[in-house]
Structure formats: C-alpha cells, structure tokens
Amino acid sequence: MKRRDFIHLSGLGMGALMTPGFLLTGNPVSADQLLNPGLENAEKKALADIALNTAKSNGATYTDVRIGRYLNQFLFTREKNVQNIANTESFGVGIRVIAEGTWGFSATNDVSPDGIKKCAETAVAIAKANSIMQKEPVILAPVQGAGEVSWETPISKNPFDIPVADKIDLLLSVNAAALDNGATFVNSNLFMVNEQKYFASSDGSYIDQNIHRIWPTFNVTAVNQSEGKFRSRQALSAPMGMGYEYLDGLASEKIEGPAGLISYRNSYDMVEDAVAAAKHAKEKLTAKSVTPGKYDLVLDPDHLGLTIHESVGHPLELDRVLGYEANYAGTSFATLDKWRAGDFKYGSDLVNIVADKTQPNSLGLTAYDDEGVKCKEWELIKDGVLVNYQAIRDQASIIDESESHGCCYADSWDSVQFQRMPNVSLRPGKDKLSVNEMIKGVDKGIYIVGRGSYSIDQQRYNFQFGGQLFYEIKDGEIVGMLEDVAYQSNTQEFWNSCAQICDKDDYKLFGTFFDGKGQPSQVSAVSHGSSTTRFNGVNVINTGRQI
C-alpha cells in the first residue's frame, strides 16, 4: 500500500474553516490536462494482460487489475475572493490476487510493462506471506466474465469542458446574491470528479468505465454582532452522479414545498438557493428556541437521506456485521441471527428500503463494481422486515447468496477495494400524498429540511440529528421557524414510528460525497433517495446553551 501524495486544500489560510476538512489526493495539473484522454483501451488491455499472466505464472488462482486515472477539479471561494483552484490527476495500477487461498495487493504508479510485472509479483509474494496467518481460505462467489465492455455516466456537459473562469463567475455570483440578500459571509465550492477506471480480471473481464460526479455547495452565515450571535444555512443541493448540466437550474426539476421552500431534484439553481439561504440565515437569528419533548417529525428528503445513510446504510454493511471494522467505524446491531430469524422488524410495514448502484443521476451509478460484478438493485428491508445486507464476492457465501451484490469499491488505484455502501433508498409511498397534505394531519410537529449535525453510536442504535431549517407545525399548519432543534432516537424504534411516506412525485436524491471507512481510511460517494416521511412521537431536545 502506498502513502499518498496529499495536498492540503486549506493552503490559503481560512479555507479549512468553512470548507470540508479533508485532503485531496493526486498531483496538481493544469485544467487542460483534465481533458487529456489518457491511454487507449488497447494499451490498457495489453498492460492488464501482463499483470494477469505474471500473477498466474507466480501461483495466483485469481487476479484483478485496476488501471485507474482519477481526475479532480475543486474550486473554493469566499465573498469576492477565489481561495483555491485545485486540478489534480492520479494515475496508477492496483493488482489484487489470491494465492494459497489468501488475498495479496500491490500498487504502483509505474504503469509500464516492467512496473506492472514487478507489481504483480509483489502482490503474489504478499499473498503467500500473509497465508501463514490466514485461518480460512477466501471463497469468491462466481462471476461471469464480461468480455470487453465500456460504460460511462450519461452526462450532457463534461464539467472539464466548461472554462474555469465560467465556474468561478458562477460561484462569485452565488456569493454576491447571498451578500445582497443579507448574508455577512459566504463560502461557495464546486467539486468535480472523474474516475477513468479500467478493470481486468482472470475471470475474463475487460471493463472500461468513465464515471462523473459533481457537487456544488455553499455555506451562508449571518452575524448579529451587537447580540454576539451567528447562524448559518448550507446549500440544499445534492452531490450527484451527473455532469455540469446539474447546474442548469431547470424549472421542471424544482419542487415547491411548504413555507415557500424550493428544493431541487435533478437540476439545481445555485443562485436562487443562495438568495433563499441568506434570508433563512437571517431568520434563524431570531427564530424561537424549541421546547423539548415528543414531536411528530416531517422529514424532507434533503434531511432524511443522512438519517437513512447512518441508521440503515451503515448497519447493513456485512463487513461491519462480521467485525472487520470493529476497531474503527464499529460493528452493527443488525446481527446475522436477527436476519436469519426472518422476522426482525426493522421498521413499520410502510418501510421498504432498497440498495442499488443503478439509479439514474445517483452517486453510486455504475455498470460494474470494482471487482467486475454487474451492478443491480436488491431489497434490504421489505415491509419493515430485515431481509438482506450489502455483500461482495468474498462475503456472499456467508449470507447464503450465490452471487455478489456488486458493491465493491476502492477510492484510488492504490487503495485495495472493499465493501462500500451502494445507494440505499426508501421507496416512496404507494398512495397519493403531498407534503402539504402530510403536514395538515400533524397536530404537534416539526418539519425539518437539510443536513445538519449528525452522530450515531458504533453499533447504530442511538442517534442524534440536527438539520438546516426547522419549522414548527401546530394543528396542521406551519406556524414559524424554530431553532436549537435536535432529535434523538433508537434506530429500530425510529423506523417503527414511520407513519406516512409521500408519493413518488416528492421523491429525490440526497447524497454524501466523502463517506469515510476503513484503515487507512478511504472515501466514497453515495446517494439516498426518499420522499418526505412522517415519524410519530420522536424525542426532540433543545441544544441552546450559554457560555
């Protein structure tokens, strides 16, 4: 495993404070280099065959090769200033083998015939060395070789074709819109990712995939200096598996919600949202502090996505269930005995949760996963009952599956692939129901929009979530904005309190761009679809304090 060439994005001082605190991998390049097509498929196939043949002749019984080119363009601005423009490229090959029943992995950025040959030899040597400590040989679920295939994210505008100056103009106009509408500070960012992945395996697959993701986002802050108070509102965009067309701001993709709120499905109007955010941040400065107690919660998809991610997505990762993440992310309450019983009531009868890597525009969308398995959709929770997990090739037999679910992923050519969360989504309600109709039926409740503070225990029982916007519901009406709101619950209790789900017209994707897992830690991007959903009698606390 290689130590990465990390570049701190917070190089311009203030950057780290208002932008996600993370590190970017790869070498800085000019924006033009992001449009360079890279190696031809024929060249990649020839190189991959060297790895497959070398590993086999050295004793490997299985080999996969990932020749990866990972391109990023990240832009950071605050108020009238550009803070940073990072264009990076990372190119190399990762080779994974099974020898003597044990995994071995090696990676190199020397993508030459010699470099690849040595790398394959090292991978086999590592597998053999590790086999001494191996207790049970690896069992792989079978995969039909795909032959030579290609796939790319169906985008209409390649983000790297858009001049950097145009993107900067957009972000600075977002900032101006926020400042003109009462914001004291604003940071806006644009993240664009392109993974060019060539996968080959000894099963007879040569899969070329070109994957795009995009995330426009901002954070608007309003300060009342005389009161010594500040409040922020983040963008209601979602990171998407789309091209630059996500920023077209099509009226047809807007959803008009209660309290004048606009949310965005597959097309985002960043300037319009910044105007709303500035007004919301100011309104939050004088919002009423919540009275703690039990409330019926009406959760918008821009909020509920993270609750699904934390309380359903992570606990149903099979590697967590088995204990492989015990020292870091933790294990899971959703143990194999509960699944085997066949009647573990995860949620109410309304709750149907599916996993997939096939939903259009989602972050998980891809044709094949990083071990050459064709991606698909499968059920995790059916009519409230736990029915399945997320499993990859070397785990499928543990849960009596004949094939992998196709959710294996590595965040770079030099990271070893492992089980990662696919899209995990709540199916919309079958009966016609709008958000306004749902709110009409609530006597004492809170309507919550947007991703806020979130925390959950290491087995995914107890959680606490905040949000961006909170509206008090009294006798079927929204009566005003609330502040200092967080709800605490237990996963099973919470999902069993699910009382109503809006129909498919309200369905949209939420996403998270930098989900972390593993040691050394790897990131992945994942979407969660849902419609607005009602949960009855949830415990709400007041988070206001004096210091």
């Binding site: 495993m1 290689k2 130590r3 060439d5 570049i7 190089g11 311009l12 001082g13 203030m14 070498n27 800085p28 000019s30 924006a31 200033n81 803070q83 423009i85 992995f105 950025n109 590592i126 590790n130 400590m133 191996q134 207790k135 950097v164 004291t184 500070f185 802050t221 300060v223 200096q225 005389s226 010594g228 500040f230 204990g323 492989y324 993440e325 015990a326 020292n327 870091y328 933790g330 294990t331 309450f333 503070s453 979130y454 925390s455 225990d457 290491q458 087995q459 995914r460 029982y461 107890n462 606490q464 905040g466 967080a486 605490q488 040691q519 050394p520 988070t543 206001g544 304090r545 210091i547």
Partner: protein, 438 residues
C-alpha cells in the same frame, strides 16, 4: 527512498530554485517510509509498506500562485515541475490575501525523529500484531487493531532565503478487544515518535481487561454526572477547543471567542483558573516540528493562562490586517494537570462515571462549542470510591467551555492523540440518552 540528509535536500532545493523564473518560488521536499498492519477477528487483513518522495514547487507571479509536484529527482524532472508550477501560476486568479514568502528563519532543532521507528520492518509489524492477537486468543476474546508508522523528512527552501530541514517519525497503535459473546468491548490507543515506547501486548492487555470488565453493562438514568475522563476521552473534547481558537473567525463574529458588540474575547477568563494550556516544540514527551503552519519558527506559546485566553491563531494575512504578530498553529497542545492519579480520582468519587473514550463527536452549535457524541469501549459506574459495575453507553451533549468550568480534579498529563492531556474529573457532565451499543 532513503531519508535525504540536510545537505542532499539543500542541494536539490538550490537546483530547483536556479531553474525558477517566477517572482517568488518555494520548494518543499518530503519523503520517507510508511507502513501499516490491520487485523480483525484475530487475523491479519492487510499489511503494507511503501517509500515515497515528493517535490512540490510553488511559483508566484504578483499575487497569483501555482503548485506542481513530482516524484523524480533528476534534473529534467525537476525542471518540468518548475515549468508546470509557473504555467499554473500564470493562469491562476489573483489571491488578494496572498502574503509574500518569508525570508531566512531561525528554526529550532526539534527532536521529533527516532531511529528506532525508522528501523521498523514488516517482521516487527507482524510480531506486534501477533503479540496483540495472542492476548485475545488466550482469553476467548476477539481483537481488531491497526498500527501505522512513518519515518521521513521534510525540507523547505525559497527564493527569499528561507531554508528548513526536519526529520520526523511517528507510530500510532489502536486496539479494540471484544468478548466472544459481544457483550463487552475495550479500547486502548497510543501514539509516540519513538516506537520503543510502545508495547503492543501491554496496550492490548488494557483493552482486554476493559472488554472483560464491561460485559453485561447495566442501564442507569441519563442526566448530569460527575465523570472521570481518561486522557483519551478528555483529549477527544479538548482538541476541539484548541482547534477552534482562530482569531479571524472570532473577529468576524462567528466563533465562541467572538465578543458581543465586536472583537474577540482575548484576555477574558473563560475557564476555571486551574486551566493552563501551552505548546512547546522542545517538550521531550511531545516534540514538535521546527516551523508552524505559517512557516514561522515554532516556539513555546501559552494559549490559556489561569483560565484566561492568552493567545489565538493569527494567520500572517489576518495578523497583518489587524496589526499584530502572526501566531501559527502548534503541532500539539500541552494541558497542565494536577497530581492525582486515576486511582486517586476514583477513590475520591462518591458517585460518578468513568469514561474510556468518546465516539462520533460532531459539532451541534459552533456558537457555544456544543458537541454531541457517545461513550464507547469501557464505561463504568463509580460509587463510594470504587468501580461498581459497567454501565451502558451514554450520548452526551456538552461544550468543552462549560466542562472546563466544572473541573473537580486533574491528574498527570499523558500523550493522547498527539497532545499531552491529563485525566480529568468533571462535575455536571451532560448525558442526554442511553445507547445499547457495545
């Protein structure tokens, strides 16, 4: 790649600078060897080792800057990096907050490198993992652990005459031990510069004892409790306080250190008068780097003195704007403690909760520095001076600012997560709900 000597690094930097045409150029070279081993379910999952070297060149024209990096050290490769950085800089927008590069600096010679750590090899890592797993194998327990080590160097030089060189090393080891029936879990973690201070077996035994002692935890009502925080738990919250001491955000009115009506709370007494926090790159137990994130020489800085905020971070840009001296972020903080041992603290507690560590800590309100999170891997009820029984984990909602006004007692500082932190006894710590997680 071997660790370059100061002379070798200086030669390369001077060569790169001789190729440069920009108004200002800075070169940094970093490299070394890193290795890791990860295990779970009492068996090793992954292990690896790699050597790398990176040359990064920053070129600046006026207020436009560009960075390029490379991994090769021959003349042609170095020239390409310089050309690339200059090309990127010319295309970059102006950064109005750009500060000119620093001239020659007088950096201290810090002792953050250990040859013992540099000598770690795959056999050492495998033995550490096997020693750790062995503890679990003999006790009907399951171990999951991770060790990562690094030994390398950093050198920096620029066209204004700044030059610095530092060798550094680190080792991080963490271990979670669970009982076979899944009802008990224990954790221990250590970080050092010198691997000879690490004994993986002993650290695992601590985690194993906690796992066995924490089985079948009882539920007690959430509420306000006196807590005894082991150094790892105390560090989980105190590092967040230290991270948030930025002057610019305070001046801008968006920090817990913002003053009502404008300005910062610099100089105000915000904490118990026993609170004294400083950083010192020459501290033998927490050696720092010779220069800070602003490129200025690291020096001993007092952050909190007798409960009053004494210093905040000022970037060079913000310091210039405010007419004060810049203050960089330290490598780690040293929180002065007291004389009580953990055992003393437990003995002197009538009713309380002993906390091994916190988990999944997230900011709830930056205005008050309120955080939420949970206890994990060893939480025990104390009554009449004795540990009585393990308790179910709690969720907390607490601010380190409030916590540092509720100090009952402190022990001797120990290395925890890159800081020196004492065990602490805190009254009225706010637990808001129970968790069934083990």
């Amino acid at each position: 790649m071997a660790i370059l000597s100061q002379e070798e690094a200086k030669k390369i930097i001077d060569k790169v600078l001789s190729y440069a045409k920009a108004d200002e150029t800075e070169v940094s070279i970093g490299g070394g060897r890193t290795g890791n081993i990860r295990y779970a379910r009492n068996t090793v999952n992954t292990s690896g080792e790699s050597n790398s070297i990176t040359v990064a060149v920053t070129s600046v024209y006026g207020k436009k800057s560009g960075v390029a990096t490379g991994n090769e050290l021959d003349d042609a490769a170095l020239k390409r990096i310089v050309e690339k950085a200059e090309e990127i800089a010319k295309l970059a927008p102006e950064n109005p907050e750009y500060m000119p590069m620093l001239g020659p600096q007088d950096y201290p010679s810090t002792k953050n490198f250990s040859q013992n750590t540099a000598d770690i090899n795959p056999e050492y890592r495998a033995k550490a993992a096997m020693d750790s797993i062995e503890v679990s194998n003999t006790g009907n327990l399951t171990a999951a652990g991770y060790m990562e080590d690094f030994a390398g160097f950093t050198a920096v030089g620029n066209s204004r005459g700044r030059f610095g060189y530092n060798k550094n090393s680190s080792v991080d080891f963490s271990i979670t031990v669970r009982t076979a029936d899944g009802t008990g879990s224990g954790y221990a973690v250590r970080d050092f510069n010198d691997v000879n201070l690490l004994n993986a077996k002993n650290v695992t035994e601590i985690a194993a004892q906690k796992a066995q002692a924490s089985g079948n935890a009882q539920a007690i009502e959430p509420g306000k409790y006196t807590v005894i925080l082991e150094p790892t738990a105390a560090n989980d919250l105190l590092r967040l306080l230290a991270f948030n001491m930025d002057a610019r955000s305070a001046d801008e009115g968006r920090s817990f250190l913002s003053k009502k009506g404008g300005g910062t709370r610099l100089g105000e007494k915000l904490f118990d008068e026993r609170v004294n926090v400083y950083s010192d790159p020459m501290h033998p137990d927490l050696p720092g780097r010779p220069w800070n994130n602003e490129g200025l020489p690291s020096e001993k800085i007092t952050w909190v003195e007798n409960g009053a905020v004494k210093n905040m971070f000022y970037s060079r840009y913000w310091a210039d704007k405010q007419g004060v001296d810049p203050v960089g972020r330290p490598t780690g903080i040293i929180f002065e403690g007291g004389n009580q041992s953990l055992a003393d603290m437990i003995r002197n507690t009538q009713r309380g909760v002993l906390v091994t560590r916190f988990w999944y800590i997230r900011a709830v309100d930056p205005q008050t520095l309120l955080y939420t999170g949970l206890t994990r891997d060893g939480t025990f009820y104390i009554e009449d001076g004795q540990i009585k029984f393990p308790v179910k984990n709690f969720r907390f909602n607490e601010s380190p600012v409030i916590m540092l006004n509720n100090i009952e007692a402190m022990g001797k500082p120990q290395r925890a997560g890159g800081n020196l932190i004492p065990p602490m006894k805190i009254r009225d710590f706010t637990f808001t709900s129970l968790s069934d997680a083990v």
